[in-house]
Subunit: 232 residues, 2 copies
DNA sequence: AACACTATTATCCTTAGGTCGAATGCGACG
DNA sequence: CGTCGCATTCGACCTAAGGATAATAGTGTT
């Protein structure tokens, strides 16, 4: 695996260079491509579609939340994606896997552990920190995880259609953007609705909004919902 | 103003009773109705539509975010609403005003200050803690504030339609829920789109989702977006 | 080469969505 | 008390959306 090619996508220069340092040391002879934003990541990925791994920071400029992960998985299903993130929320970790991540590496992970993770992923396996409970506690998360998996099953074009839908665009407009006919968009739309188990574009738009956009309510609110215990 | 009638809506019993205590002391002879959830608030409000003021906690069970405020403003435009909240985020305060709140009282406010606030609001005025900058820093917030004001201009029925739309419901389903014809819902929908400056229900659904649901990305992310300064 | 999957498009048809105009009813204001 | 404005309601009419089916083509796998 000395000739591996990695893409590192992180907007934080300091951490990016530390990561590059660690990777270079762990995998001698590795080729590294860096991306500092979602835009440059798209660029780098399309120019290096033969990459063996992408180290991805959620919350990069241009793509909060899981949209960058989902995009990569849909666009380049063959390239495993390892999430590198500051948060260690089990809900975030689980959902990352649901969206198709091959590993989740908290930024607090030791160099040795990172090495183990990289080897595991380059070998086609998965890697997780310690023992993250695989099952989610509450019902709400269950439903959202299932939806996340459904979103992950979308093809690249279907995903693009969904994302544009989440911007409130009409079929005709999406067709123009993607330079295909409206009939094609309708076909994709039908497929998206089928895969997500919905029956209207509005539902799909709302769902995509909730699921993909910024680290949102349902993930954060786990710490805040429910009434606090209190004295009389 | 001894015969004033107030509705206190807060799911936290401890704070609710403290607030009741303070109000009783500040306004002798006042009548107080309490609500512990959004549901019970709806009940209390409909049974006391002659109330002079509603003290509202954002983030009650059943209605995170601004939806409860927007609902009250649309349903009972004549009753001023004073927000009572733990957060002191200027963005939250400004948006509360955009949505039609008459006052914003942080839970850290002193009894005397609360008294001043109540008198001001019962007198038809507004009240704010200290000096909150009226202008918002970034462009993003500007746009969202303008949209908030547009949402605040919706009529009760239009708002109900919008909220159900944000759940992904079809016109036919909304018509069934509200027990009117589908044609009526379409008319409301048209009015909503006009007022919000949009041209499709999908846009409206996405927007309502962003704007009304839990203290969301755009409000929280002010503390998180933007690249951190760092050394080379 | 055969197969599976994705993408593209077209046609036909049914249903959902959205605009316009109009009627009703209610409260404010002179 | 009449009238003005506004919210609500609704029908008629046209456009957008979505399902079904089928055909063509490229891609990658077996």
């Amino acid at each position: 695996m000395e000739n591996a090619k990695l893409i590192i996508a992180d907007d934080h220069p300091l951490f990016r260079s530390a990561l590059r340092e660690a990777v270079t040391q762990l995998l001698p002879g590795v080729t590294i491509v860096e991306a500092v934003s979602f835009q440059s990541l798209q660029q780098s990925a399309s120019e290096n579609s033969d990459a063996d791994l992408i180290l991805l920071d959620l919350n990069m400029p241009g793509a909060q939340g899981f949209s960058s992960l989902v995009y990569l998985r849909a666009q380049y299903p063959a390239i495993p994606v390892a999430i590198v993130s500051a948060t260690e929320e089990p809900a975030v970790i689980r959902r990352s896997l649901d969206f198709g991540a091959a590993a989740y590496i908290p930024k607090s992970t030791s160099i040795e552990q990172i090495g183990a993770a990289l080897r595991s992923v380059l070998d086609g396996g998965v890697w997780l920190p310690e023992h993250i409970p695989a099952t989610s506690a509450n019902d709400e998360e269950h439903k959202e995880r299932e939806l996340a998996q459904r979103v992950a099953s979308l093809t690249p074009q279907q995903l693009r259609v969904l994302l544009m839908l989440a911007d409130g665009r009409l079929n005709k407009q999406i067709a123009g953007d993607l330079e295909v006919s409206e009939a094609t968009i309708k076909a994709h739309m039908t497929a998206v609705l089928r895969k997500l188990g919905l029956y209207s574009r509005t539902q799909a738009a709302v769902l995509a909004q909730r699921l993909l956009q910024a680290e949102n309510a349902s993930l954060l609110s786990n710490d805040e919902t429910g009434s606090e215990p209190e004295a009389a």
